[in-house]
């Protein structure tokens, strides 16, 4: 942990601001938590690589002064795996939206988790394709509305955390853009974990999602996050009916004995290398 004073300006590419996010968007809160977490972890700017896909959240790397790669839709994890495997000393973080990570990028998501490669995926989960105008995403709740579910959503959503855990990720957690202090703490945990860590961050898109679901202001959506979040420990004592329409927050899964892919690879090389 680093002792120097934290300063947002040190990490921001101020000449690329203002950002593209709408007033009231939760993504800026997540960005700030990420910068504080990186600072707390003591990483140098040169050793951090941030990759992202396509969408509102994926514009984040442009604003922060690291090695940043804004890749193609859904594929950020593949670039991340490439650079991590070639230079395992680098700290690799991937920023993705819910559509980016779980729809078009779903295959890369489960396989990165399966490999348990040492990197962190942060899913900015706002239940919608905000940048394209609010179509329904694979995490959009049942019966909610979007520009492509005008009569209500009948598709079951993914639970990002359950999926990550089932696919083999070894650190899985969820927070929200309302719980900014917890969010930063979880980010530090996720970044410090050796292996594939997935942090699902419920964030608000009042413009594209909230507006169509009786939460048209950022305040409505922040209240939603506050009211619907159930700490994992409390959830243990709640019935399925009580948990309906709510989501668990907390560090939901952690496993430290599964081999990590990049270190296993280089260990293997040592045993077969031509001296």
């Amino acid at each position: 942990m680093i002792k120097t004073k934290f300063d947002y300006d040190y990490y921001l590419r101020k000449n690329t601001l203002p950002h593209i996010w709408c007033p009231g968007c939760g993504d800026g809160i997540i960005l700030k938590a990420l910068l504080r977490a990186i600072h707390k972890c003591g990483y140098s700017k040169d050793e951090v690589v941030i990759t992202s896909g396509i969408g509102c959240a994926s514009r984040l790397p442009g604003y922060v002064d690291f090695n940043t790669i804004h890749t193609t839709h859904g594929r950020a994890l593949t670039f991340a795996i490439g650079i991590k495997m070639y230079k395992p000393r680098l700290k690799v973080i991937t920023i993705s939206g819910d559509g980016d990570a779980l729809a078009i990028g779903g295959n890369h998501f489960i396989h990165a988790a399966r490999r348990n490669i040492d990197m962190t995926l942060i899913v900015f989960n706002n239940y919608t394709y905000g940048m394209t105008g609010g179509q329904y995403s694979p995490t959009q709740p049942l019966d909610s509305y979007s520009t492509t579910t005008p009569f209500g959503n009948i598709e079951s959503p993914f639970d990002v955390c359950n999926l990550a855990q089932a696919a083999g990720a070894t650190w899985v957690g969820r927070s929200t853009s309302y719980h900014a202090v917890q969010l930063e703490k979880f980010m530090v945990n996720a970044l410090s974990h050796t292996g594939f860590s997935v942090l699902d961050v419920i964030t608000n898109c009042h413009i594209s999602y909230g507006r169509r679901n009786k939460m048209k202001s950022p305040v409505d959506m922040v209240k939603y996050q506050k009211e619907k979040a159930v700490p994992a420990r409390s959830a243990e004592n709640m019935s399925n009916e009580e948990l309906m329409g709510r989501f668990k927050t907390g560090i939901l899964f952690e496993k430290t004995d599964k081999p990590e892919f990049s270190s296993e690879y280089y260990k293997k090389l040592e045993s077969i290398k031509i001296k």
Partner: protein
């Protein structure tokens, strides 16, 4: 000094060429008829302390290659027609972001799953135009196993020098046949390596559209922090929608290849001095064409061949000049007519005939000789 001579399969020669070129990283996905490239590199690269990855799909394979290349790796992937179709998304990204990479396409019959185990030359236009948007690309069509090795090395050199994807187009015939290969010694080869920029980090721009020189791509993690995006970007790498920036960025992607065509072009001329019929053939078909030319000459028909080795950028100037002297041109290819379009577009006053066979068999010398006889009568 005695030469190091080996009997090798085409796909093996590609793998060997990649190792000689200093390849640091392979990521791929199994597909016939290119899988041997992956299999051989999965054995060779780890022994050299380098990275081999089998990814979850074709798109991921090129994504990983580009991620590694941004870290400074010399990186390669190998696939075939349907896999290349999937990779097009990242071929465009590599073009736009100017990330060096080598893409092997061992061509098979198409469209779709087509003929997985049989040869074709039907991806020539896919190589050039497969990804969306305006861009240039370098593509190379070796005609044999030995040439596959040397052209793989050249593909790496061109990729690094021009910061571009380079596609090596072989086919099922070349990929799977065995021939003599002369393994080069390192000192007789030019190997272009990835290097750090010659400016300090605070003055580094990852792109330069104006000087005419290709800026070195700084390996990430070495102190040169910059931004890479598939959005149109200015020289700093950050997205821009300014009209002059957009135009300059687009121009540069094409100019950096086409203005250096003399350095990138490579071709062979065979018996052209007195030729009255010109054959334009490439890859495995050029082998049959060579034989057919000997048959035609024995029958008293003066035929010669122009064989593009660099197929993209297309040798427009050479075709134009040849077409001024030779008024009949025959383009045999294992597709329904792709390179013939370029020959027609660039020739002046010559009649251009095609011989297009896509039945899963190589085009034979007899078939070409027969067509030569027809053309000579016209």
């Amino acid at each position: 000094m005695s030469k190091d001579i080996k009997l090798m399969q085409g796909n093996e020669a590609i793998a060997e060429g990649a190792v000689i070129a200093g390849c640091d990283f392979f990521a791929g996905y199994p597909i016939t008829p290119s899988s041997e490239v992956a299999e051989i590199l999965s054995n060779k690269l780890p022994k050299l302390g380098k990275v081999f990855l089998q990814m979850e799909d074709e798109i991921a394979a090129l994504g990983a290659v580009l991620g590694a290349a941004l870290g400074g790796a010399k990186a390669i992937t190998a696939s075939s027609g349907p896999g290349i179709s999937l990779k097009q998304e990242h071929i465009g990204y590599a073009s736009m972001c100017e990330i060096p990479c080598v893409i092997i396409n061992v061509m098979r019959g198409g469209p779709s799953t087509g003929l997985p185990t049989l040869p074709a030359q039907s991806d020539i236009m896919q190589a050039r135009w497969g990804t969306h948007g305006d861009h240039a690309i370098i593509a190379i069509t070796p005609s044999g196993v030995n040439e596959s090795l040397y052209e793989t090395i050249r593909a790496f050199n061109l990729a690094v020098k021009y910061r571009t994807p380079v596609m090596l187009l072989t086919d099922e015939i070349i990929g799977h046949m065995r021939e003599k290969v002369v393994i080069p010694s390192k000192d007789e080869l030019e190997i272009i390596d990835v290097k750090l920029p010659d400016v300090p980090a605070e003055k580094y721009n990852p792109y330069n559209f104006t000087s005419g020189k290709v800026t070195p791509l700084a390996p990430m993690g070495e102190g040169y922090r910059y931004h890479v995006t598939g959005l149109i970007h200015g020289e700093t790498g950050f997205p821009s929608q300014k009209i002059d920036v957009i135009q300059n960025a687009e121009n540069w992607l094409i100019d950096k290849i086409y203005k250096n065509i003399k350095d990138i072009e490579k071709f062979e001329e065979f018996m052209l001095e007195d030729a009255e019929i010109l054959i334009v053939a490439y890859g495995s078909t050029s082998r049959s064409a060579r034989q057919a030319i000997m048959m035609a000459r024995a029958a008293g028909i003066k035929v010669g061949m122009f064989r593009p080795i660099t197929i993209w950028p297309f040798p427009e100037e050479q075709i134009l000049n040849l077409s001024k002297k030779i008024k009949k041109i025959l383009v045999p290819e294992m597709n329904m007519g792709q390179v013939i379009l370029e020959v027609q577009r660039n020739s002046c006053g010559a009649k251009v005939y095609g011989l297009n066979i896509v039945n899963g068999e190589p085009i034979t010398p007899d078939q070409i000789f027969s067509k030569i006889k027809d053309v000579s009568q016209l």
